[in-house]
Symmetry: C2
Subunit: 435 residues, 2 copies
């Protein structure tokens, strides 16, 4: 081993993931080094607060509080950016890349917002940027898309990409409790952040969908061009309907590409998914992604989407790939071809829909509602009336045949205007992914 | 594109998979070339019978009937061995590797039987040997184990690795028909080979388990050192028991490693798997693999395990990887570290079991059976009596608490000796994979 070349790695940020990376590399260093034919040295790390206690032992001489000093250390070949955010993280990333280093990251927001600039800096200065950990935690889904399925064009990719939402939905389903109660428990148990908005309103999922879209289609779709809805309005009435009709409700990212026109449509929304689908049975904090390629057919990838160890597993895999590349001259990797596919306007996305609305419990209401839907050319597939917790009210659940977002949105607006409709209708998508 | 370097690829064998590779490379050549920065030329192919009609158009000048001439053609950098078998395929593979070429293969039997010799030839002559298509068709499971999960040690890997068996089991379950009837239909529809023994008796699965074991543990386990049982003795009585008790019956390969002693146990057997497990819901010709790593937790990979297109997807991914490596100097890849883990004798494998046996329908039989099981120190968890198609007989189904293969085999032998037992007991494993 003494004649092994040395590769120095620095870590910016020793939070949960950073400590996981440090711990697992320290533990399996001998195995990794023998596999690589190189010495893997964790040379230094930066933290925000030097006095904070950590679960991993890092020699004082290797620890500082200036991430930029790590990024610019000329002795390091690889820098892990694990501080998160899109400001300092971006500066650190670009500084390291501009010195020709390779940067490994778990930062989905950064990739999503500044991907083109970062990738171009890596190319220009002869380094690489790896981000396997940014989507679906420890599941090697980015490697699958970039390498394993390279022969394919992808008509549909859909998945559960946010563990917090899936955890909340699973518990709502299993325990029959309301969203606010489960959210509170999820926070107490550490499954949801103090500020949960990014997760439960769908933006975290949208960031990941944007990354998958780029990898699969070479096209950057900003989250503001997607249809994005969260899970905060779901109630037990929805969960119960799903159970009785053999569905699960999942917050799904759906990336569709029309293989004839190449038009892309990207959406994130709570969706009724048939229990016959494997992903309907992916529960708790697990993530799952279905990738349909025109050559391979449907493939699925399931695993823990977050957490110290799962994320560290992905980061370490990237570090090992980065070192293997370095040892072979660090030439550029095959990249997704820029395709700039046209983007379907969200309102043109087609599908079937589920509405739940509270209405006055009086004769003639259904006729008024039916008149509204037929004006918007939305064809109703089923109607169910259920008791409402509200006095003098009933809860109506409608499902539709194939329609599109524009017609549905018009319907929601017009329904809300009816005197007999007491609350804004809740809208869910119904997945109709044929086998 | 005119200044792109040229990479010449030859294909030995234009059967189903070979034609798929030819077709899909021809179709997506521009995309692959632009991604790689190289020209990908399908220079020549060999077939057994030059007069046979094929679904892909190959210029006569590129077609011959001598695979060895392809393997030794000095103009080719990459040779795909798609003829199958372990004799001529081995000669071709070694001949190409000895010329420093890279060989891409879908040949699980060859890897399994001659892996060390092949890998060593590749290393020695500066080429590579890729075999993603040999396990689980288009699912990039080999890439996941070698690269994506490199930070992990694998306590348990289990999977459905044979599409023919899974197809037969799914149809037996859904249609209530007997094994021989479904097998006949599967043959007529092309889902089973004319000679189905390799598939239904478990040997194909065992070959794939051997490859996964090497990739995950750096240890070659020959199929003769595994416990291997097939699905040929299953009846509707077993399927019905499974359904009533919320199990599916799957032919599972199970690779266990005791992370304390490093001892490996590899088995292939029809197994009762709880429906709560994702793989219990993987049906028809789909394959699925569960990989539990000590860092990442459980991850799952699901997709088509065979067929022209799925297999071609994996072969093309290997060709692209091979070309990317070539363009970067073709240096060796990180390989599994040879570990030579000790092998648990199959008879020491522990688990719970299911027996079904036809017995004389007379008093005292259960007592005799219970006496046999208790002598072998096998503890019975449940007993069910069902009608037997045989006159004057009853069918008994027993399940056990935790036991091991040795005790179970002794029990089977001793039960078979009882006068009251009319047929050799059918034995199934019950998976007890905790979450």
């Amino acid at each position: 081993m003494n004649d092994f070349p040395i590769v120095n790695v620095g870590i910016c940020g020793l939070g949960t993931v950073g400590q996981g990376v440090w711990k697992h590399i320290s533990r399996s260093r001998a195995k990794l080094e023998s596999r690589l034919g190189a010495r893997l040295v964790l040379k230094r790390a930066s933290v925000r607060d030097l006095t904070k206690k950590r679960s991993v032992r890092v020699a004082k001489s290797r620890l500082g509080d200036d991430p930029m000093a790590v990024a610019k250390d000329p002795e390091l070949q690889i820098v892990c950016e694990l501080i998160g955010g899109t400001t300092l993280a971006k500066d650190i990333t670009l500084a390291a890349l501009r010195m020709g280093k390779t940067v490994v990251s778990a930062n989905k927001a950064l990739v999503c917002e500044h991907g083109p600039e970062i990738f171009s800096a890596a190319r220009q200065h002869g380094g690489h940027y790896f981000f396997e950990a940014s989507v679906a935690g420890g599941i090697p889904i980015i490697k699958a898309l970039r390498e394993g399925l390279v022969a394919n064009r992808f008509g549909r990719i859909y998945g559960i990409l946010n563990g917090t939402c899936n955890y909340i939905l699973t518990r709502m389903e299993r325990e029959g409790l309301s969203y606010p109660i489960i959210l509170k428990e999820a926070k107490a148990l550490g499954y949801a952040e103090g500020n949960e908005a990014l997760d439960v309103e769908g933006w975290d999922t949208a960031h990941k969908a944007s990354i998958l879209t780029y990898l699969a289609h070479g096209t950057w779709v900003p989250v503001k061009s997607m249809l994005v809805e969260g899970i905060t309005e779901l109630t037990q009435a929805d969960i119960q309907y799903a159970r009785e009709n053999d569905y699960a409700i999942k917050l799904l990212a759906v990336i569709q590409r029309d293989l004839k026109t190449d038009a892309l449509a990207v959406s994130v929304a709570p969706t009724l998914l048939s229990r016959a689908k494997v992903l309907a049975n992916v529960n708790k904090v697990y993530n799952g992604v279905s990738v349909t390629g025109d050559v391979v057919g449907e493939t699925l990838y399931i695993g823990l989407g977050a957490g110290q160890d799962a994320t560290a597993s992905a980061v370490i895999s990237d570090i090992v790939d980065a070192i293997a590349l370095l040892l072979r001259g660090n030439a550029p990797l095959p990249e997704p071809i820029e395709q700039n596919c046209p983007l379907n306007k969200p309102e043109l996305i087609e599908g079937s829909y589920y509405f739940r609305l509270d209405v006055k419990d009086e004769p003639g209401v259904l006729a008024k509602i039916a008149s509204v839907t037929s004006k918007s050319k939305v064809s109703i597939a089923s109607v169910q009336q259920r008791p409402s917790p509200r006095k003098g009210a009933a809860s109506l659940i409608l499902t539709t045949h194939l329609s599109n977002e524009k017609a549905i949105r018009a319907t929601v607006t017009n329904l809300s205007r009816l005197d007999a409709v007491l609350t804004a209708p809740l809208l869910l998508r119904i997945a109709s992914f044929d086998d």
